[in-house]
């Protein structure tokens, strides 16, 4: 049986797979992006159990449950078929996301709120672990030889487009209401969760109309499907060595490049550079919009020149470019330099009074603008001690002054879009060809299981650890603000060496076996 589809058929397959996978990524991301509001609503720091559940929701979902989901659904996909398995993951993901948006806050139902949210978040992680392998396998098993890289690269756009849609919807909702209305118990932060159910219903409808993978059907009709995909994947030395090679020679490096370009960059702009929320988000949105077509470019190119060197070139470029790029972010948002080198203009000032243990605390926020259009807010705090006439001029201590909501001028803004775009292009280099690479590495009867586990360990664990190891390194070596980058640089370099030495650049023409 040929594994190629008619041209119109393959596009239906790609659409059905990509839309669903995009929605799953969207669902998974919005939780992380709204983590601050979610933690206020469900995981108050004052309750130690809730704080513990919060930690589990953030870390266990990505690090443990995603790889576990890869095993559970990978096995199902190799036993009962790709179509029904990735339909199941979609229902699970969509349902969990919608329900997170429906759980009343901690104030209303107490500890049941964080427990329910934790459970639903773990279900999200489980579903995500099963989705990608199914979608990539499904498209690859329909794609004609010589076009597999190009067709599967459409699936590869979904993780980044899911991020784009999540960023866009949250920004849109936030722009149309006040911060108080957004952060309220039943406020605007819930809308992105509710919107998910509409997207999922459409996607389920599309997927239900699709046929099962022709290669899987052929195996099934011949009675050649695996009876025990987990054993055949991980206890068969010939296959297990390929699982290890996929993980350490490709997916591990891809995970850190993927995470650093898309998430660490945004977090760095917001926390280390103190860039204004809207500006940092729109920088990401523009960079993603201009960068996403390159998934298709590199997927297509990998059909011509092989997958290996495109992916490894992306990793190597990350090794050499990350520190210079992030260093530019820091130096261009250094407001001390702005004050010393540019004319400053006072814009406005707000003061608020609060009380802390009987003392009066005055917080003053003054907005300044430079002659070339950059802006920042200087926050100072003065305390009037209770029962005395002493005012502690904390603001006179420069170390206690906080600079927030920086807005860079238009020239720097476009430069930042360009720099983030470069990092997104690196993501497209490592991520664009990888679905085809993984599919070609494993036999049809255990493909779903064998490719899902290394993918989710690479992406979820190695990628997901970027912020934690970054924090660990910056705490250990506080003098260097870029020290956190040594983790993705080190992992990408290690993966480059393993990939360069052990992988071959062969394109498998036949994935029917």
């Amino acid at each position: 049986m040929a594994n190629s589809s008619q041209p119109s058929g393959i596009w239906k397959v790609i659409t059905a797979s990509s839309v669903g996978t995009l929605i799953e990524w969207y669902d998974f991301y919005i939780f992380g992006m709204l983590a601050k509001t979610i933690s206020t609503q469900f995981f108050p720091e004052t309750n130690s159990t809730a704080a513990l559940l919060s930690t589990l929701a953030i870390f266990a979902a990505g690090f443990i449950v995603r790889p576990f989901g890869a095993l559970v659904f990978g096995r199902l996909g190799d036993l009962i078929g790709r179509k029904y398995t990735f339909l199941l993951t979609l229902v699970l993901m969509g349902g969990s996301t919608f329900l997170i948006g429906c759980v009343p806050g901690y104030k209303t139902i107490g500890i049941a709120a964080p427990l329910l949210v934790l459970l639903l978040r773990l279900l999200q992680g489980l579903a995500l672990g099963g989705e990608y392998g199914g979608a990539a396998t499904y498209v690859a098993e329909h794609a004609p030889p010589g076009r597999r890289g190009y067709y599967t690269s459409w699936i590869q756009t979904t993780a980044t487009l899911g991020l784009f849609v999540a960023l866009g919807i949250i920004l849109l909702v936030k722009q149309n209401m006040t911060d108080a209305a957004f952060n309220d118990e039943w406020g605007g932060w819930r809308y992105p969760f509710w919107i998910s159910i509409l997207l999922v219903i459409v996607s389920i409808y599309i997927r239900l109309k699709m046929e099962e993978s022709p290669l899987f059907l052929k195996l099934k009709s011949e009675g050649k499907t695996s009876k025990n995909p987990l054993r055949d994947s991980f206890r068969n030395r010939s296959n297990f060595k390929m699982v290890l090679l996929a993980l350490f020679g490709a997916v591990m490096g891809q995970g850190v490049i993927w995470y650093t370009g898309q998430f660490y960059a945004q977090s760095f702009l917001e926390t280390k550079c103190s860039l204004d929320f809207e500006q940092s988000r729109t920088i990401m949105l523009w960079a993603i919009a201009f960068g996403t077509p390159f998934f298709l470019v590199f997927g297509w190119l990998s059909d011509k020149v092989g997958r290996k060197w495109i992916m490894l070139a992306g990793m190597l470029a990350g090794v050499f470019l990350y520190r210079p790029i992030f260093s530019e972010f820091l130096s261009d948002t250094n407001s001390k330099n702005w004050v010393q080198t540019k004319k400053m203009q006072f814009v406005n000032e707000n003061a608020s009074l609060s009380f802390h243990q009987g003392d009066s605390v005055v917080t003053t926020s003054a907005r300044y603008k430079t002659e070339d259009g950059s802006e920042f807010t200087r926050v100072t705090t003065d305390t009037a001690r209770s029962g005395t006439n002493i005012v502690s001029r904390i603001s006179s201590n420069e170390a206690a002054v906080i600079i927030i909501n920086k807005k860079v001028n238009p020239a720097t803004y476009f430069k930042f879009i360009f720099l983030v775009w470069i990092m997104i292009v690196l993501v497209t280099m490592v991520y664009g060809p990888i679905a085809a690479f993984l599919v070609e590495l494993f036999p049809t009867k255990i493909r779903y299981t064998s490719m899902s586990l290394p993918y989710h360990i690479g992406n979820g664990v190695f990628g997901g650890l970027v912020p934690f190891i970054g924090l660990l390194l910056s705490t250990t070596f506080p003098a260097d603000p870029l020290v956190g980058l040594w983790y993705p640089i080190g992992v990408a370099a290690l993966c480059f060496i393993i990939g360069a030495v052990y992988l071959n650049n062969k394109i498998d023409k036949n994935v029917n076996d």
Binding site: L56, F59, S238, K241, M242, L244, L247, T444, F468
Partner: protein, 83 residues
């Protein structure tokens, strides 16, 4: 190239336990019940060390396979894997 693959196999077998030792030392250094950062939180360290231990064992096995010449020639077709 084949010799390089073999020699590097030994390197991966050494690197794997070093990663775990580094993580355990990190946990011992930074776990602090009074700390507010993620690196002070024992639960996170338990999760990370639990998930990284099998990965490091995987790297050791990868090194062992490389040392035993399993990667001298990669399979040309899936039949070589399934048989």
């Amino acid at each position: 190239m084949n010799n390089l693959k073999k020699i590097l196999g030994l390197v991966w077998m050494v690197v794997a336990p070093l990663v775990i030792i580094t993580l355990v030392l990190g946990a011992i250094t930074y776990i602090d019940s009074n700390g507010k950062k993620d690196i002070n939180n024992p639960i996170i360290w338990i999760i990370i060390i639990s998930i990284f231990t099998p990965i490091a064992i995987g790297l050791m096995i990868f090194g062992w396979y490389a040392f035993k010449d399993d990667y001298q020639k990669l399979p040309d077709s899936s039949i070589e894997i399934t048989n």
